[in-house]
Symmetry: none
Subunit: 130 residues, 4 copies
Amino acid sequence: MAQFFFDINTNNGVPVYEQVARQIVSAIASGGLDAGQMVPSVREMAKELAINPNTVSRAYRQLQDCGVLETVRGSGVAVAKGAKAQCKKMRSQAISARIAHVIVEARQSQLTDDEILKMINSEMRKKHPQ
Amino acid sequence: MAQFFFDINTNNGVPVYEQVARQIVSAIASGGLDAGQMVPSVREMAKELAINPNTVSRAYRQLQDCGVLETVRGSGVAVAKGAKAQCKKMRSQAISARIAHVIVEARQSQLTDDEILKMINSEMRKKHPQ
Amino acid sequence: MAQFFFDINTNNGVPVYEQVARQIVSAIASGGLDAGQMVPSVREMAKELAINPNTVSRAYRQLQDCGVLETVRGSGVAVAKGAKAQCKKMRSQAISARIAHVIVEARQSQLTDDEILKMINSEMRKKHPQ
Amino acid sequence: MAQFFFDINTNNGVPVYEQVARQIVSAIASGGLDAGQMVPSVREMAKELAINPNTVSRAYRQLQDCGVLETVRGSGVAVAKGAKAQCKKMRSQAISARIAHVIVEARQSQLTDDEILKMINSEMRKKHPQ
DNA sequence: GTGGTCTAGACCACC
DNA sequence: GTGGTCTAGACCACG
């Protein structure tokens, strides 16, 4: 059940709790986690990812606050009803916002869109070439 | 002389000293500041931007460390020789890094590169179409 | 763990943050601090040396910038991988720089290289003869 | 009369007034300037070296304080009697002290004297090979 | 006047 | 708890 959340990187500047939350959202959006299904306990998840339980806890809390997860009394934390649609929306909005931000900055640096696209292609190939 | 550096935003998460440094780099790269020219004094710049002199000092120091600026003892800080080419390079490297960052995040959200590219194209058209 | 760093002298012209940085480099180069090992926290170190935390922070930041240390978010600062080799190199470069500096000064005093070498030999014998 | 003082370098970290003072001391020690002889006026010297008159003034003051120069009322600044012997002593003491300092530091960094000598020879050749 | 250093104390995000 | 940033104000060396 926890095989969705593997690539936690504690050195890339992105807060770990943010990475956890994002990957849960992704898993729900992509159908790997369905409404009503239980999410691993904070302790389990922390052990699995080799991170601090507080960090997992913070990720869960954040997702509960926005209605993606909900506590089921006496048994743990589950994916909320309607979470899938919401997660899809959250996921693309978050990424879009970041993309827009980078484009604005790049244009402010007087790069043309063609140059920007070249840089993007170059970066995509550089990292993990798919 | 100091009208290049206006938009300091103390609430956007980017450290102020970093914003100052970036804008100087940008000014040099675009030809607004030429090699040999003096940069506003630490105190002047601080007053101008309504920030603490130490913060300006840190920005200047960072740029000295990478050879963009150099102190002329007793008289101030000047743009170093060859700074323009270097600043251009730094600027595009900075953009590349941010692009790479977004790509990593998008992939962590389990988006394929094709989906990412579609979002990018969509954002490019949406914002200020060139 | 902090017994490596004792001789901070606030009156010898060498910036305190520089002294701290040098001693860490020295400790790593000599094997007193190994890659992966944590360095005392900023606050601890500051207390230990009776200096301001900001000063320690600056020393650490400088060493992070050159890849000797790296922050482990939320938990502290550690010696980076490959730091030992780098520190050895840095240490000898630092000495070289100081030697070059003395030579320049001696030449400015119109001493010939032969005279300089004689003085060096004399000083080497005079001090702690090996 | 002023042809002794040419190599002022405002970017090598050594205070300019210190360089001026040192070169006057050297000139006296080497016999280029004799007791009783007038030294160029502060203004002349400053113009000659393309530096700030205050800087020259500070160098002269320092040398007056230690008895190497003396003001001759109504006519300027002259080399004091007995300055030659004193300057010779000052010159070698100053250099010796710096050499000793570097040696101590190098030994503290666990370099052998042989290694130190190699570095010295390398530096001597590197700069202006004589 | 200039930059450089240091201190003190505050606030923040992260784990 | 950790490091990072920022502010305020002081002192120093240099020109």
